[in-house]
Structure formats: structure tokens, C-alpha cells
């Protein structure tokens, strides 16, 4: 299984990108941060000054890219119409809560029956601190955020496929982290003390390196041994009075190696996974809802796009509304903010090369399930507050504990998060069987799991109409050939979405892609 994110961008990619879009106001915003690293590629929407010249734009799809486009363009004075196929806004920024209905292609209908106030974020669920576009809108539209715990030292690693005494049972992550660091440092220090680096490192550097290793691996002062550390968690916690902590003993190195639990330690170290991380208070649909409140009647829900055609002067979008009535919207420009997996199936008047390019990307198969638990046993009985339980069954991937409703009565746990062929396999099951799979796995980690699982909602994004996939996955070849073409308009039709970014799968990609495309339209209008 490969990491779906195309990240990290290299310096080279950054410079290529700057060269590719040169001259837009967006670029200037990004440029300002160049000297300070890559934190802010685009920190704010492009300033659309100079007037809209009475022009109109029809936007297709009320996901974050479409909503961002509609919000900024209407604010700048454009006549905007936003067509959305479903009866809700948000696209994949979607939370299942009481009354939410979902019917996958070829599947049975599900109605979410979680208790009031409980939800699962079915799509995106976390906001890295450097996703400044998202945070800009959360700030300016008044969407509150709370911390998302993406790394919990006290959580478990459940690896059934390893071998040895640590396989097949939950092991606290902090034990594995401390022990493998300790042993690795000890072994390296021993090698250095035996002269292994005498030829390649100066004496001064060797001494500093040894100091680093002693520090890094919690090694004993004189003989550089790892004999455990309080950071792996004590055997018995410190208490009051005559109750000092009782030290724990490290796991044997061989047991750790054979368990393969160490494979999880770099999981959330990547740039798009690091702390600080946020989530919107109340669900991932809160930002789309906030956009929708500002846009009002600009959004026309229940309008399924049937055909997109254009002349040198106008774009015409034919739709069918929820009552089955056919109609058209005519505008000066169109922004199709629809996933390519769906857009490529729509009758669209673009060049053959453009049409072909839309098929040059694949979409991730992704499955998730939210399980409402009667009580927060992971907090009450296991002292685990948020974060992920790593599971080496690819059908499960991770079990994630909620970063909201702390110390409350109930909670909704993410019971699995799988990709690729395991997602295909799980999605072939009925909702009931998906739940059974998730509960059987969770029960191995938490003895309280099955008895507390009371309600669930599962989703397989590749089977969801109007999405048909979790996120775009570009091959290197696709990035070179199809991708640049789709970033440029075909006549009066522009595309926007996470698929037209190097932040695929993130809402930030949709937002920054929208900023880029509206910047181009505005420049053209004011040329």
C-alpha cells in the first residue's frame, strides 16, 4: 500500500510550481513565504480587485473547491450560480449524524441513527497547522476548531502478523518507541566505542555523537546501556505517601523486532501529519455550512449536471433538478469543481486531449466506519484520549478514538480506515458485516469493545454517487502529461478541486486550487 499523499513537495517542485503559474496575485502571497520555508504556499485568497465587469460564472459542485470559488467570486461582484447534485453541500467534507442517508452504488440504504450530537467525519477529519487556506476560512467565517490528537503515546499497537511474544496483543506505543530508540542508540554507541567510526568521524564529533546517543536512547552514563526509561511508562504509577512509582522493564530487543510494531513509529511524523492538528468543532460539514449561509440562494441543490457545452462567448450547463425538470444555466465562465472520477462521465464539450487527460488519474478506494459506543471505555479504562490504535490488518488499518466530547458519556470511534484492495473487499460486505468485521478487530484490542458498540455508519467512497473515490491519485506520468493540461482552462471551462493540487486528498488542495482558478478568471476578465 502506498502513501496516498503526493507529499512532501520538494524545493524543486515548489520552484516549478512558481514558474508555472507566474504572475498571479496568489503567487505573490506564496512568494512572501518563500524565504521562510514552505509553510504558506498561498496564505490568503487572491485579491479580486478591479471589478467583475458584469460577468457571470456557473460553478459545478458544492464541495470546498466549489464553495470557495462561489464565495470569493460573488464577493468580488460576479454573478454566480452554484449547482449541486445532492440535497446537501460539502461533498466529501461530510459528517454522518442522526438522519443522514447514504446509498452506495450497488448497496443498501443506510440511515444514520447516532444519538443527538454524535457524528463521524466520513471524509476528511483533520487539519494540519500549515493548511492556511482552511484556517483562513475557519477564522473569517466563524467556524470554531479544536485540537485533533493525531499522535497518542499511550495508545496501542495491535500487530497480529508479527511473531514472538509481543504479537497478537495490544502494546502501548510509548513502550515500543522508548525501547527501540534505546536499543538502537546502545548498539550504535557500542560500535563507536569499539572504533567503528574512527576512520570516518573526527574525535570531537564522535564525542558529541555519543552524547547525542546517550541522550536520544536514555543510555546509562558510563557504559551506554539501555536499561529502560520512565518514558516507556512505569509498571505502577507514582502515588501519594509511601507509594513511589515502580519502574517497568524494557521488552527484549528481539521480541520488539519480531513483533514489527516499530513500523508504526514514523506513521504520523510526515509534514502533513505533524502536530499541531485541528478539527472543526461539531463536524467537518461545519465549514461548508458556513459557506452556504453566506451564499444563500446562489446554491441550487438537487441539480444534476447532464451536459456542459460552450461557444467562444458563453458556457451552457444543462441540468436535471430534483423534480425531474430539465433546465440550463448560461454564463460567461464555468468552474467544474467535480471529482474527475465523476466529471469524466459527463457529456462535456472540451478538446479530445482535455477529455483524455481527465481519465489520466485514478481515485483512491477508501472505507471508513463510525461506531457509536455506549461509554468511553478507551478513556475510562485505558487512559487513551484520542489518537490512533495501529492495526496491521489492512482491512482495519487503524482504530481512531474521538478528539471531541472528552470525558463525556458516549463517543463515536472510527472502527477502520482502509485503502486500495482491502477497501474493495470490505465494501463488498453489507453494512452489518462491515460492522462485524470492525467489532471483531476492536475486541482484540479492547475487551469492552463489542458490548459497547451500539450503532454504526459505514462508507465506501468509491461507491458513493457524485464522488466515486476518496481522492485523486496521480502517477508521475499523469502529473507530467494530464495534470498540467487540466490546470489550464479549455475555452471557458476551468476545473478546480483537490485533484488539481499537490495536496491531493486534503481540503486545502480544493481551496488553493479554487484560489488559483478564480485568480486566472479574474485576470482574464480584467485583461
Amino acid at each position: 500500500m502506498t502513501q496516498p499523499s503526493a507529499f512532501p513537495p520538494t524545493r524543486r517542485m515548489f520552484l516549478e510550481h512558481l514558474a508555472g503559474v507566474g504572475g498571479t496575485p496568489l503567487l505573490l502571497a506564496g512568494m512572501s513565504a518563500l524565504g521562510f520555508g514552505i509553510e504558506a504556499r498561498a496564505a490568503a485568497p487572491p485579491p479580486l480587485t478591479g471589478g467583475a465587469k458584469g460577468k457571470s460564472v456557473v460553478i459545478l459542485g458544492a464541495g470546498v473547491a466549489g464553495l470557495t470559488s462561489a464565495y470569493e467570486l460573488s464577493k468580488a461582484g460576479y454573478h454566480v450560480t452554484l449547482l449541486e447534485a445532492r440535497d446537501r453541500v460539502g461533498g466529501r467534507s461530510y459528517s454522518a449524524r442522526k438522519g443522514v442517508r447514504q446509498k452506495e452504488l450497488g448497496g443498501e440504504e443506510q440511515v444514520c441513527d447516532f444519538d443527538d450530537g454524535y457524528y463521524i467525519n466520513c471524509g476528511p477529519w483533520r487539519i494540519p497547522y500549515w493548511h492556511r487556506g482552511y484556517l483562513h476560512y475557519a477564522r473569517t467565517l466563524g467556524v470554531g476548531v479544536e485540537l485533533f490528537n493525531n499522535d497518542n503515546d499511550h495508545s496501542y499497537i495491535q500487530f497480529d502478523k508479527g511473531s514472538g511474544p509481543l504479537a497478537g496483543k495490544p502494546i502501548r506505543k510509548q513502550e515500543v518507541a522508548a525501547d527501540v530508540r534505546g536499543y538502537a542508540a546502545e548498539i550504535l554507541a557500542k560500535q563507536i566505542n569499539q572504533g567503528a567510526l574512527d576512520e570516518t568521524m573526527s574525535k570531537g564529533d564522535r564525542e558529541l555523537f555519543l552524547s547525542y546517543l546517550r541522550n536520544e536512547g536514555y543510555l546509562t552514563g558510563k557504559d551506554f546501556k539501555y536499561i529502560g526509561t520512565e518514558g516507556r511508562g512505569p509498571e505502577i504509577n507514582p502515588g501519594a505517601g509511601l507509594n513511589p512509582p515502580v519502574d517497568s522493564k524494557p521488552h527484549p530487543l528481539s521480541d520488539l523486532l519480531q513483533s514489527r510494531t516499530w513500523a508504526t513509529l514514523q506513521s504520523v511524523a510526515g509534514y502533513d501529519q505533524q502536530r499541531t492538528m485541528f478539527e472543526p468543532i461539531g463536524g467537518m460539514d461545519q465549514l461548508p455550512f458556513a459557506f452556504a449561509r453566506h451564499l444563500g440562494p446562489i446554491i441550487r441543490k438537487g441539480h444534476v449536471v447532464e451536459k456542459i457545452s460552450q461557444t467562444p462567448d458563453k458556457v451552457t450547463v444543462a441540468y436535471k433538478d430534483a423534480k425531474g425538470q430539465h433546465g440550463t444555466v448560461v454564463a460567461d465562465y464555468c468552474i467544474a469543481a467535480i471529482p474527475l472520477s465523476v466529471l469524466k462521465t459527463i457529456d462535456m464539450q472540451v478538446s479530445p486531449a482535455f477529455k483524455q487527460a481527465m481519465s489520466g488519474v485514478s481515485y483512491a478506494l477508501v472505507g471508513k466506519i463510525g461506531i457509536q459506543m455506549k461509554r468511553r471505555f478507551w478513556e475510562e479504562d485505558h487512559a487513551i484520549y484520542g489518537g490512533h490504535v495501529y492495526y496491521d490488518d489492512p482491512m482495519i488499518g487503524s482504530i481512531s478514538l474521538p478528539s471531541t466530547g472528552w470525558l463525556g458519556k458516549k463517543g463515536v470511534v472510527l472502527g477502520y480506515y482502509q485503502f486500495g484492495s482491502p477497501a474493495a473487499q470490505v465494501s463488498a460486505k453489507s453494512h452489518k458485516d462491515r460492522l462485524a468485521l470492525a467489532v471483531a478487530a476492536g475486541q482484540k484490542v479492547f475487551p469492552q469493545y463489542a458490548e459497547n458498540a451500539e450503532k454504526s455508519f459505514s462508507i465506501a467512497w468509491h461507491r458513493v454517487p457524485f464522488n466515486m473515490g476518496g481522492w485523486a491519485e496521480w502517477s508521475d506520468e499523469g502529473r507530467k502529461t494530464a495534470y498540467p493540461l487540466l490546470n489550464e482552462p479549455d475555452g471557458r471551462i476551468y476545473l478546480a478541486g483537490e485533484h488539481l493540487s499537490y495536496l491531493t486528498g486534503w481540503q486545502e488542495g480544493g481551496i488553493e486550487s479554487a484560489w488559483q482558478q478564480i485568480g486566472k478568471i479574474h485576470k482574464r476578465v480584467n485583461a
Binding site: 502506498t2 502513501q3 452504488l105 481519465s359 486500495g420 473487499q425 463488498a428 486528498g505
Partner: protein
């Protein structure tokens, strides 16, 4: 996740021995790994997932079919890390003979040859995504 090691047993004898069991496994594997998208009767969903019933590619050259199952294509994921060559052979054989399809079986040896030809990289250890 590791690629499971594959035992190659001599062609004719193995296929004779494995005959009925293979067909059964193929049907089960199909419903586990393929039916979510291609649908239980291989009819697909127009515009979304291609039909396998009556499809010319499915009934075409075996190595191309094996290639797509191993490597994925378009929206289809790769199964090289999840199914053994025997399993891929079983499911491909099933699909080529079900719902009116009339193509011959695909052997595990043919799948192995395709896997080796592609020098498929082993899947990496589990990672978090978005």
C-alpha cells in the same frame, strides 16, 4: 503486509487436481474482492465500474488480464499484495467462464510469470493517510 510466497506446482497435474475447488474459490474470491464494484453478476455500473460479463478484454489474452489484476488500472486497485498467484488465477478463471463468458482458464504459473515480468515492488508497511 507481505507478498505471500507462491508455490508453483507442475501445470497439468495441478490443474486436474485443483479443478472443482478452483472454481469454487474463484467465485468466493470474486464476491470478496471484486463484486463491490463490478457487481455480483459482473454487470458493473455504467459510467462507474466496467462490466465484466460479456467483456472482450476479460476474455482476451491471459497475461493482460493477470497484469490488470496485479497492477490495477484507472480506478481499480492493485491486488498484487493481497492475493496469491493461485488466487488471482482462480478468480480470473472464474470471471472468464461466468455469466456467459467463454474464455479458457488462467494458470497460476501465468500469473507468476506476469508478476515476475513486472518486477512488482513489495507493498510498504502500513501508513496513515488523510
Amino acid at each position: 503486509m507481505t507478498i505471500r510466497t507462491t508455490l508453483i506446482i507442475g501445470g497439468v497435474a495441478a490443474s486436474l487436481l485443483a479443478g472443482p475447488a478452483l472454481a469454487q474459490d474463484g467465485a468466493a474470491l470474486f464476491s470478496q474482492s471484486c463484486a463491490a464494484c463490478h457487481q455480483p453478476q459482473g454487470q458493473g455500473i455504467p459510467g462507474a465500474f466496467p462490466a465484466l460479463a460479456g467483456d472482450a478484454f476479460v476474455q482476451g489474452p491471459p497475461q493482460q488480464v493477470a497484469h490488470v489484476i496485479l497492477n490495477g488500472r484507472g480506478g481499480m486497485p492493485k491486488f498484487s499484495g493481497d492475493l496469491t498467484d493461485e488466487q488471482i488465477a482462480a478468480v480470473a478463471t472464474y470471471v472468464r467462464g461466468a455469466w456467459g463468458n467463454k474464455a479458457g482458464p488462467i494458470t497460476a504459473a501465468a500469473v507468476t510469470a506476469e508478476r515476475n515480468a513486472g518486477a512488482l515492488p513489495p507493498p510498504t508497511d502500513g501508513q496513515q493517510a488523510h
